[in-house]
């Protein structure tokens, strides 16, 4: 089938395939930002941020809801796809272990990296599609912004995120910012930065992502800006 007839967003591509491609892009972006290998928890947080902040880059959200857990965002379907990527040799896992988390569940610990031999051809194919190139540009910039945080801060990002930290939503409930609900305080906040540049200029999407992450940092440290 030609590239023209098989668009990555066409109904012919299953959600799972789309998520696996997104996962490869996420791990690639993390590695490009210096976060190699990326721990499971941080990878799910990065996936969450790529969903909740997609509107900042004028893109649709891939998955507009997530289960709120003590350990941070976690996507069971994405984890299954991640396991599949490991099984198929596209991703590698290191430092594998199990921990008992605050939700009294056994949780997998480990860190992921790409096996470039198999991942690069996928990324090369992705580069043929304009929409996917935009996704790559967005997630790469997001990962760069994310990489400015320390290891502890990377793990604590969701505790300050404007959407995930909403006190109205209890742990064990679903944070919905794009499936049934349209409110997305994280993207709203990031966009609000656009009009606050001291020179009176308007921040472009890349700058908004960095400012949003810097603001999470400031909130983690008694609201003192980085």
């Amino acid at each position: 089938m030609s590239r023209e007839t098989l668009s990555p967003m066409s109904p012919e591509m299953t959600d799972s395939v789309r998520r696996r491609v997104r996962l490869i892009i996420l791990i690639d972006a993390a590695e490009n930002a210096g976060l190699k290998p990326i721990a499971i928890r941080r990878l799910h947080t990065l996936a969450y941020l790529s969903n909740v902040l997609a509107p900042v880059w004028n893109m649709p959200t891939l998955d507009g809801r997530v289960l709120k857990r003590h350990g941070g965002p976690f996507y069971p379907a994405l984890q299954r796809d991640l396991d599949h990527l490991v099984g198929s040799g596209i991703a590698r896992i290191s430092g594998l272990s199990h921990v008992h988390d605050k939700d009294r569940r056994w949780r997998l610990e480990g860190s992921y990296s790409l096996n470039r031999l198999f991942a690069n051809p996928v990324l090369k194919e992705v580069d043929h599609f304009e929409d996917e190139r935009q996704v790559v540009a967005f997630i790469h910039e997001l990962a760069l912004a994310f990489s400015a945080l320390s290891d502890d801060e990377l793990d604590a990002t969701s505790t300050e995120d404007a959407t995930y930290s909403n006190p109205i939503i209890d742990f064990g409930e679903v944070v919905d910012f794009g499936e049934w609900k349209t409110e997305n305080p994280s993207a709203e906040t990031a966009n609000r930065f656009g009009g606050l540049i001291p020179s009176g200029a308007t921040a472009l999407p890349g700058e908004k992502l960095h400012l949003y992450i810097r603001h999470l940092y400031a909130r983690m440290h008694d609201k003192r800006p980085a």
């Binding site: 400015a148 409110e183 001291p198 810097r214 909130r219 980085a226």
Partner: protein
């Protein structure tokens, strides 16, 4: 059987995320990520310069020895027993950099370092090229043995030590210096179709003199890259919305620590002059005249609105033949009254035409 997660209501923006807090973050961090989309080596060079600038402003003490930066986000250890140490928020300039080998990403917002025992240049180069086998990785060396730190940029890595340029940490930014930088961009990337990069072709059909449809966007991209390298401490902002339209390029510079202290150096309105549209439709001299006049007015309005120190209309002439600055005759007085500088760069549609024009100029110069 387990029950699925319960749905719950999501409120709007939380109360704690209001103006003052957000403004404090922006005032401290504006400009980070404003170069998104530029080539990674350009961002890397700019990031290193701004890191050094922050260090100077913070008064961070550095030993009198070089710091080596590699555009290699994932570190390689020199010795398995000593793992690189990670530094988040590197760009705040608070962590000493000298005497260390740094692995950074293109945004230079975090990094990992190894202590460098060597202070001798040859030894440092050898560590990177021979021991680490990273001689082809884009690199920069920050020199702390001079009175003021200097940044030496190696786009093709330390394995090509002769391909090096010194990047200024502090530069005066005037319209003339901006024009000089555009002269260099023009010569390197715009002058002929052969000079265009694969991703930045300006001609749809050069033989027929048909530019591409979005030629202004492509010229703007070349200028963003070139001006960022020429003035790395500045934010080269593009496509800024305004009450009267969209401003093409704005060159501003914030203080290294206090981002509310901004120098508004210049605004540039960019126009491409065409003999034909991309589809081959002829465009008259009158249309070109109106196009130029609208550019003068736009430059004036944007400059006034942004309180820019300098304002200029920069025309990139993709017409059939170079006719010099005659195209500005009808707007000279207007531009002078509005204090808008006028500049023109001609883009040849073939290298052969460019060579012919150059030799004709030389011949007529010799006759005179």
């Amino acid at each position: 059987m387990t029950s699925g997660p319960r749905r719950s209501k999501v409120s709007g923006a939380p109360d704690a995320w209001e103006g003052g807090d957000l403004k404090a973050t922006v005032d401290k961090n504006a400009g980070i990520g404003s170069d998104a989309g530029l080539p990674e080596d350009v961002r890397f060079a700019r990031g290193i310069v701004n890191l050094v600038r922050s260090q100077i402003a913070e008064g961070t003490a550095n030993r009198p020895c070089p710091a080596v930066f590699l555009l290699q986000p994932n570190a390689r250890a020199l010795d398995e027993s000593v793992q690189p140490r990670r530094v988040p928020m590197l760009n705040n300039g608070k962590v000493p950099i000298a005497g260390r080998l740094w692995y950074v990403n293109e945004a230079v917002v975090s990094g990992k370092y190894l202590e460098l025992e060597a202070t001798d240049d040859d030894e440092i180069f050898s560590i990177v090229t021979d021991r680490l086998q990273l001689g082809t990785v884009t690199a920069a060396i920050v020199e702390h043995r001079t009175k003021t730190p200097a940044v030496r940029f190696y786009p093709r890595g330390l394995g090509e030590p002769d391909d090096m340029r010194v990047i200024p940490i502090a530069a005066t930014v005037t319209l003339n210096q901006i024009f000089n930088a555009i002269d260099r961009i023009h010569e390197k990337s715009l002058l002929t179709p052969d000079a265009n990069s694969v991703a930045g072709k300006l001609w749809k059909n050069a033989t027929k003199c048909h530019p591409i449809k979005n030629a202004e966007d492509v010229v703007q991209m070349y200028l963003r890259i070139g001006l960022t390298m020429a003035f790395p401490t500045c934010d080269i902002r593009h496509e800024q919305p305004s009450a009267v339209g969209r401003l093409d390029l704005k060159i501003e510079e914030s203080d290294a620590l206090d981002k509310t202290d901004v120098k508004r150096h210049a605004i540039l309105e960019l126009k491409v002059l065409r003999s034909y549209s991309s589809s081959g439709k002829p465009l008259s001299a009158a249309q070109t005249g109106k196009w130029i006049e609208s550019g003068v007015n736009q430059a004036h309005y944007y400059g006034k609105e942004w309180h820019a120190k300098g304002k200029a209309l920069c025309c990139f002439d993709m017409r059939q033949e170079p006719t010099g600055e005659h195209c500005f005759s009808h707007v000279r007085k207007l531009a002078k009254d509005l204090q808008v500088e006028l500049k023109l760069w001609f883009l040849f549609r073939s290298s052969e035409r460019m060579r012919r024009a150059t030799s004709n100029q030389t011949t007529s110069g010799a006759k005179e």
